[in-house]
């Protein structure tokens, strides 16, 4: 599987994969990488396979009973992959049951393939890797190379022969020899393309014609899916493992893919695409915009909000200046940014004075004013100094002056406290009564 990332966008592309471990390979596995798009194969979009153990037991039982009766078992395989898996399966079974019937492997590619498996043991399952020093699983004791002359040998035997669909080569040759005997058995462990002998035989055809000769197919034919593709459960498992924002299904039958598409949309609530060959799918992704922020600004903000116990209800506010200069976009301290750019900060202050008819000493008025402001502005730090002036948030100043009858209340604030300033002014113009 490939995880491709460009900027903020990412996608995961799978080839064929298998979510259940088998004898020589570990299961597919993916990080929770949350790609924007997961492109997955969906060969078995609707199939849910029964347990592998059952299938294996079934397979072994069939081979065993056939061999016991003196029959010959032909297993057409492709050189790599399933062949090794089935070999390990039979090898261990033969060892355990102490069977003597010979198992053959068609010469050539497969033998070389086993050699590759021995050298690339690091890519096989953990268990095989762990024990390879004592016993390399790909060095088979019971499985010997096959020779064409063995075809007519009497007695039971099991033969793995290529190719897997019985369309040419050794496997077909053996099949033609063994087909007329009902004691023999053919086990097809994988999918066969329509038109191949394999497909026909699996379809139940009992008479085949070769070179104008009729071949009676009397041997028992069994299909056992040892195909390694992930089934529908496996595909869903992969989706839940990597948590993509969108899924695209490729490879499979349209109707079955539709079913899986629906299931993915329902279960995960994400978009699922299924473009036909040649069709373009457009997938929209929304991403945050990356930005470089000065560490001092970030740290100062952190120290302001006190990082000790993060409070999810209390937002941490960052004030910064976004500066775009010589191909760089940076978020820096506003004051620094302005001085860097030669900009001078301009301070705008308002002072507005309201006259009120209010009898009594100035200090009394100031006291009442303080009480009123305090009751209205609970969140604000308010400082009441001895000379009768009230400071709010350090920058807003309220001062009372005047004589016994009328008082002048001056409110002074900076432009950045504009909302507070106009609120106070509004408040005071309605009198001092609370």
């Amino acid at each position: 599987m490939f995880h491709i990332k460009s900027g903020q966008q990412s996608l995961v592309y799978t080839g064929d994969y298998n979510m259940t471990p088998d004898r020589h390979l570990g299961a597919a596995w993916i990080d929770k990488c949350r790609p924007d798009l997961l492109i997955t194969e969906s060969t078995y979009a609707t199939t849910i396979r029964d347990s592998k153990r059952c299938r294996e037991r079934d397979f072994l039982k069939k081979v065993h009973s056939c061999v016991e009766k003196g029959g010959k078992v032909l297993i057409p395989v492709f050189a790599l992959g399933r062949a090794q898996e089935l070999c390990i399966l039979l090898e261990t079974y033969w060892e355990r049951m102490n069977l003597k019937a010979p198992i053959y492997f068609s010469l050539g590619l497969t033998e070389k393939a086993n050699h590759y498996y021995k050298l690339f043991i690091t890519w096989t399952s953990q268990k095989i890797k762990k024990t390879f020093v004592q016993r390399n699983m790909f060095e088979f004791k019971h499985i010997k190379p096959f020779d064409r002359s063995y075809i007519d040998n009497p007695g039971p035997m099991v033969v793995f022969a290529t190719p897997g669909m019985l369309h040419a080569g050794l496997s077909l040759q053996i099949f033609r020899k063994w087909a007329p005997n009902e004691n023999n058995m053919l086990i097809m462990p994988g999918y066969c393309v329509a038109g191949t002998i394999g497909h026909k035989v699996l379809g139940g055809i009992k008479r085949l014609e070769f070179d104008k000769q009729v071949l009676e197919v009397k041997l028992q034919v069994r299909y056992m899916s040892f195909s390694a593709h992930a089934d529908a459960k496996g595909i869903m498992q992969l989706v839940s493992q990597c948590e993509p924002c969108n899924v695209m299904l490729v490879h499979g039958e349209a109707a079955k893919m539709d079913f899986l598409k629906q299931k993915i949309q329902q279960e995960f609530g994400i978009d699922c695409f299924k473009p036909a060959n040649g069709e373009t799918a457009i997938i929209r992704t929304i991403h945050n915009v990356p930005l470089d922020v000065s560490v001092t600004l970030l740290k100062r903000e952190a120290s302001l909000s006190g990082l000790s116990i993060p409070d999810p209800k209390r937002p941490r506010i960052l004030n910064g200046a976004l500066v775009i200069k010589s191909n760089k976009t940076q978020l820096v301290d506003p004051v620094e940014a302005m001085s860097d750019l030669g900009l001078r900060q301009h301070q705008l202050r308002f002072t507005s004075t309201i006259s009120l008819d209010d009898e009594g000493p100035v200090a009394d008025t100031a006291d009442r004013l303080y009480q009123k402001i305090k009751s209205k502005l609970k969140d604000y730090p308010i400082h009441y100094s001895s000379d009768g002036s009230i400071t709010i948030s350090d920058t807003v100043l309220v001062r009372v002056s005047g004589d016994e009858e009328t008082k002048d209340i001056a409110v002074s604030w900076l432009h950045q406290d504009e909302e507070l300033g106009s609120f106070l002014l509004n408040l005071l113009s309605n009198g001092l009564e609370t």
Partner: protein, 685 residues
């Protein structure tokens, strides 16, 4: 950023790096050389070692303590050795709190043998990162060590001699023991398994993320199977740790240098321990001398580790024997882990040099020792008692551990063959001084050949590499600035990069360095919704600015700036705390302002100069405006309508980081957005 140096042996390094709140240990080497203070552990009964006299203190006076000490020490040829369970010198573990270590990065299997001391029983909770061959071969080295120590058990731990007043009265080599109080007994197999279960296996060039704060990547260093250099980055700063590296072509995958370039800090350790010996000529000499010994009917003993250069020795030796027409001379390889050491080498093809790697596609085993084993020319045994004697043929070449000559099967062979001058012992491992290693066995008659093979960077290779890599700062061992003790006049055997040493920092055991890396920027993300509201203003050609106020959310050390929630009370609260700020800049042009006021219908304006600025009087509105270059003060009499009108007019005349909707700016915004995206992608290259 801080760097702690925990190891005194630069070839078995151990560092702790503190950066961005993450504490990373780099390597965890075990200084095995200290075992040379001990008597060898015999592989079989050994009369020579058993009959050595106890040490007797020089002066007649003997206290109780001295008596006990003399029982712990044995004398041999004027030197004394500790007779007790072998002890090893782990890194300076007391300098750090192991439970605070988040991560351990391992560079090669030779630099990890102290791991069980540090990860077990210390509260360590972090993760160890290493490549697959590093873990597998490292495990073999540890298992070998444990097996050697456990198979000749000595229950008694000698500790009396370590007392400070005693140790200085003792003869060499014991008197030179480095901090014997900190030595520890060998760990057990259980410790090894438990320790290695904490390892996460990584591949070369795989990007690892640590807590969202740092990323790290291992690249091939070319010195042994799976050996790596480490690159730690924060997105802006880059720290490169070069442990054992080799620019020579041997069996491992070649060193990759380009990712190591232009680091802010380059930490360099593990330079060649034998800079005077050329590895190529040493291996040639080794083969020649071995063959000549064989030809004269003698046996060759090669003390070795189970992996590494040993593979090359098998290969070169077998070829040389063929060339000398001695193809039937058997090679024996003895190590408790010889089976797996030989088997693993042939399955690690992706970690091998191209030549070796190409063989597996044939498919053939990459190392010739697979073929040598099949043909019986190379035979491996786990020890001398496991069937070696059946069909043991001489003359032969025996490869056996341990190269310290203090344990393992080599002890047996040294005693078996030491008396005959026809035989030879050939040292190839550079970790131990060979004369010291041999001292307790003296007198010996066998030929002694010293061909140390150390493929690590020599000083000239290191100097060239540093020049190529162009780091901003270099951190090296203090000793690398001066020529080595054995060649004090060889000024070329130093690191010579930065004449004034202004950009060089040095480390030694126990030192804490402050590294000159100042973090300036951090990558965060802006929510697209907030980004969409930003409207940068061009204040100078090519320079744009806008104020951003957002809500910062941090998760896993990743920060996102989001719009402030649309909640009026919250906004008020934030304003009250001064968390949200706005900024105005510029100087008010009186003329412009007066014109603007006129447009708003305010015509009764009187302007008076005062100092730097002016005072504007609006008699009909009873309002005074003090204007100075950097400030304006509007003083009015409670009339909000007029104040708001004045405010807005004034702001129009000043530049302000508020939305200004004009056609001119709209076109700029478009180009800005393009440039933001462009610069982002350029920065990501």
């Amino acid at each position: 950023m801080k760097l702690l140096c925990l190891s005194g042996n630069h070839s078995k390094p151990c560092f702790v790096l503190q950066f961005k709140g993450v504490t990373i240990m780099m390597d965890c080497g075990l200084d095995i050389a200290q075992v040379q203070n001990f008597l060898p552990l015999p592989a079989a009964t050994n009369s020579h070692l058993e009959n050595l006299p106890s040490w007797s203190p020089p002066s007649g006076q003997s206290t109780q303590l001295q008596k006990e000490v003399s029982e712990e020490l044995k004398e041999c040829g004027g030197r004394v050795y500790v007779d007790g369970a072998l002890e090893f010198s782990p890194p300076e573990i007391r300098m750090v709190n192991m439970s605070q270590i988040d991560i351990i990065l391992i560079s090669s299997y030779t630099c990890m043998l102290a791991l069980p001391y540090l990860t077990e029983y210390t509260g360590f909770k972090g993760i160890i990162y290493a490549t697959d061959p590093t873990v597998q071969i490292g495990r073999q080295y540890m298992e070998e060590l444990v097996t050697y120590v456990e198979r000749s058990p000595k229950s008694k731990v000698a500790s009396k001699w370590k007392t400070e007043e005693i140790i200085k009265t003792l003869p060499p080599p014991v008197c030179d023991a480095v901090r014997p109080m900190t030595w520890q007994k060998c760990y057990t197999l259980h410790d090894v398994n438990s320790c290695l279960s904490r390892v996460q296996i990584i591949g070369f060039n795989e990007k690892l993320e640590f807590f969202g704060a740092l990323t790290a990547m291992a690249t091939s260093s070319g010195v042994c199977l799976g050996s790596s250099n480490w690159i730690i980055t924060s997105g802006f700063e880059k720290i490169v740790y070069i442990a054992g590296s080799s620019t020579l072509t041997t069996h491992p995958k070649p060193m990759e240098t380009s990712p190591l370039k232009e680091a802010d800090v380059l930490i360099l350790s593990c330079l060649s321990q034998r800079p005077l010996a050329n590895p190529d000529s040493m291996i040639g000499e080794f083969c020649m001398k071995a063959a000549s010994t064989i030809r004269n009917g003698g046996n060759v003993l090669v003390p070795c580790y189970p992996s590494g250069i040993t593979y090359d020795l098998f290969e070169c030796m077998s070829i040389h024997l063929d060339n000398c027409l001695l193809p039937h001379v058997p090679m024996y390889f003895l190590s408790p882990v010889s089976d797996s050491a030989l088997a693993y080498a042939n399955i690690f093809s992706e970690w091998l040099s191209t030549v070796k790697q190409n063989k597996v596609y044939l498919p053939e085993p990459p190392f010739p020792h697979a073929e040598l084993l099949n043909s019986g020319r190379l035979q491996n045994y786990s020890n001398i008692h496991s069937g070696l004697s059946n069909g043991f043929k001489t003359p032969c070449i025996v490869f056996a551990g341990h190269p310290s000559l203090r344990m393992g099967d080599v002890v047996h062979f040294l005693q078996l063959w030491g008396k005959s001058s026809a035989n030879a012992i050939m040292f190839t491992e550079p970790d131990f001084p060979y004369l010291e290693a041999l001292a307790p066995y003296q007198p010996l008659s066998l030929r002694i050949c010293y061909c140390p093979i150390d493929t690590s960077l020599s000083f000239s290779q290191a100097n060239k590499l540093i020049k190529d890599l162009k780091p901003r700062h270099l951190v090296i061992a203090e000793d690398y600035l001066n020529p080595p003790l054995m060649a004090p006049h060889r000024a070329d055997l130093t690191i010579d990069w930065d004449l004034n040493l202004t950009r060089t920092r040095t480390y030694k055991r126990g030192k804490i360095l402050s590294l000159p890396v100042k973090r300036q920027f951090e990558r965060i993300e802006i929510h697209p919704k907030l980004a969409g509201t930003l409207e940068p203003v061009e204040v100078k050609p090519g320079s744009l600015i806008t104020m951003v106020t957002g809500c910062l959310t941090g998760k896993d050390n990743k920060f996102v700036l989001e719009p402030i929630p649309d909640d009026l009370t919250l906004k008020r609260k934030l304003k009250a705390e001064g968390a949200i700020r706005s900024y105005i800049w510029g100087t008010l042009q009186i003329r412009t302002f007066v014109d603007a006021l006129a447009e708003e219908g305010i015509t009764d304006v009187k302007v008076a100069e005062s100092g730097d600025g002016s005072i504007i009087h609006l008699p009909s509105e009873d309002t005074l405006i003090q204007v100075e270059p950097d400030s304006t003060h509007i003083i009015c009499e409670g009339n909000e309508t007029i104040r708001v009108k004045l405010r807005d007019t004034l702001l129009k005349c000043l530049s302000k980081f508020y939305k200004i909707y004009t056609k001119r700016y709209l076109s700029i915004y478009l180009s800005i957005y393009l440039s933001i995206y462009l610069s982002i992608y350029l920065a990501r290259n």
